[in-house]
Amino acid sequence: MLLRLAPAATLAVLAGPVVLGLAFTVLPAFGFLPALGGTTFSLDPWRGLLAAPGLSTALTLTVGTGLATTLLALALAAGLCAAVAHRPGMARLQRLMVPLLASPPSGLALGFAFLVMPSGWLVRLVSPWATGWAVPPAGLVTVGDPLGISLVAALLIKEVPYLTLMVFAASATVPVERLMAAARALGRDAATAWVSVVFPQLYRQVRLPVFAVLAFSMSVVDVAIIVGSTNPPPLAVLATRWFLGYDLAYFHTAAAAATLQLVLVALAILLWLALERPVAALGRRWLARGSRSRAAGGAAGVAGAVAALLILLGLLSLLAMLVWSLAGSWRFPAALPDSWQLWLWRGEAGDAAALASTSAGIGLAAVAVALVLTLACLENEQRHGLHPGAAVQWLVYLPLIVPQIAFLFGVQVLLVRAGLDGTLLAVVWAHLVFVLPFVFLSLADAYRALDPRYAMTAAAMGAGRWQVFLTVKLPLLARPILIAAAVGFAVSIAQYLPTLFAGAGRVATLTTEAVTLSSGGDRRILGLVAVLQAALPLAAYGLALALPFLAFRRFRGMA
């Protein structure tokens, strides 16, 4: 009976904080917040926001980097898929992307910043023999460039693997081999065949992930603090800064900025939707022309190569952080440290272990709740023969599409009122809002695809529904369940803003620490934190693969 409540409980966990949070962001944005004496509506917060120096630059930066990241990520992911669709390298590519999918964006951004900064690894690798630079070049602006190019690049390192994975996953629902064979028989090269007949069928399925990328790139705070320009930063960083200033004078301005962030993301999604039709029409015209030109295939090849380069940069970023965490002294322009040490790993182990265990504890708690809710929803769905429609899919994506700042702001207001701000409980719940969608999305297909005849056979032998669930479904789905748990854990480790807001700055995790240290901390300690940030989710992925393998190694049918 409790099972019937699962969808409602899940909805409450997901939509509750989003809807209530939005309300308590928008109300203060119009001056209404009784706790602070605001009992009437006013436009003062907006006047304050409009008067903020550099606002228009911040807005341009927000929209520009967001749209550029999303367009490029989609084009590069599609190009990569087109380029490898007919090659056996796909599996290897997916393995290479795992560390990037597992690592928090902030950790990757820290590594990326070190790669491209004037005193960074890329310059060191070619100096001084090629460049003649014995000191870091002063005129070179990379990290924090005013156009946001490094911000876009750092985001792409995370988003290209994500969208590539989403396109791969969607491919399973389409007869790719036969479609490609048909198009190639009609004289298209492989990449053109993929772009012209496979991708149009997949696009609909990757649309929500694309919107999640759009919302994330427009509203990301941690990556923007690490590699984005600072004066002015993108809008979400501005709002966070005002909010965390704890200067009550800026509180309403911060609420207005968070509301504006919501409006910008909504407008960007509407713009994207509006452009879909004309772009599709152009695409159909291109297909109708019947061109056998290899230009499209060539473009896909270039996109694939750039995507591969980004994946390489991402892996180098992780490696750079590992090298730093082991470096003794590392002077410019040496390509490798002059001396190595382990003292950091021993000496700082106490602090780092405390941060790591807090992060892991929050992650495990959020994943446990998310798994219980997800399994309950999916089992309820099967028992009652429900076929959830597109609306459910949108609801699950809701926390990923609404910008975090726009509702976390209101959530924080409510948590303060409930006296829960700064507690681990609040932080776990805030993480759950983002962990649950990923766990659900990652597990739902496998759960629904399990051959129903296993459960039928068991029931026909007299096994009740709970016995079937526990002794048949759970073991048969052990692998996807554990993978979903690992995905959720990685999502939790990556959370910056929810930890900051729900934790009221009092709960420190690896990710909050990485962002705090990014402005001028010791590079070696930063390296240590970033390595741990990546290591925890990777360990979770490793366990998710190893445990079912060990438990069922006797059974070939479970491979």
Partner: protein, 231 residues
């Protein structure tokens, strides 16, 4: 499999109708009595609703896709109001559907009722006994994935029978086997069903299966068309 030969009730279908929610009537007022120890056959081309009929009898009908009415009984006891796990109706599908995460013994133990076979030793002994009778002695710890097609089919039937069903449903269980194996497995299944006095309902599109079954045959001819059973 000597116990359980006591004559149980017949499997009775009374005026069973199944309609797809999109409107097509798949089964129209089908009445059929399958006496203990006989194998009745429902024939018809694929997609006609044969498997749907078995799903209704076993209690797995997807109520969102199909509407169904009509009684299903064992003797005088009504089944169609019970959940699947309380019906004690065994079902074999086209594939053996052995649980891939359990050994052969694990699969067989799954069905063995705890009420009759309590101790671990007793249960293992019972499993070994039926395996030996079926020519599978020593197969207890085997991974089901390593068995041949015929061995899998036999383990699948043994598993179903160990659960002590009151009737047996066969959903084209020989359809995927090649010709020589097909006759062998068919003979094995029918022999066990008759020996245990089980009323058995077979759906197939293969006339040879129906002939081998030797019981009443019902032909489904698509929406609305049911020929009465003829012997």
């Amino acid at each position: 499999m000597s116990e359980g030969t006591a004559l149980r009730g017949a499997l009775v279908l009374e005026e069973v109708s199944i309609t797809s929610r999109v409107g097509a009537r798949l089964i129209d007022r089908l009445s059929l009595t399958v006496a203990p120890g006989t194998v009745a056959t429902v024939m018809g081309p694929s997609g006609i609703g044969k498997s749907t009929l078995l799903a209704y009898v076993a209690g797995f009908l997807d109520r969102r896709t199909f509407a169904a009415e009509g009684r299903v009984m064992i003797g005088k006891e009504r089944l169609d109001t019970l959940p699947a796990e309380a019906r004690h109706v065994g079902i074999l599908f086209q594939d053996p559907v052995l649980f891939p995460h359990l050994s052969v013994a694990g699969n067989l133990l799954f069905g063995l009722p705890r009420t009759r076979w309590r101790s671990r030793a007793q249960r293992r002994a019972r499993v070994s006994e039926v395996l030996a009778q079926a020519g599978l002695a020593g197969f207890e710890d085997r991974d089901p994935a390593t068995l041949s097609g015929g061995q899998k089919a036999r383990v699948s039937l043994l598993r179903t029978l160990l659960a002590e069903p009151r009737a047996l449903l066969l959903d084209e269980p020989f359809g995927k086997l090649d010709a020589p194996l097909r006759a062998e497995v068919r003979a094995f299944v029918f022999a066990h069903a008759r020996e245990r006095g089980l009323p058995t309902l077979l759906v197939t599109h293969d006339a040879e299966d129906a002939e081998a079954a030797g019981g009443p045959v019902v032909a489904l001819n698509g929406p609305g068309g049911v020929r009465p059973p003829c012997d």
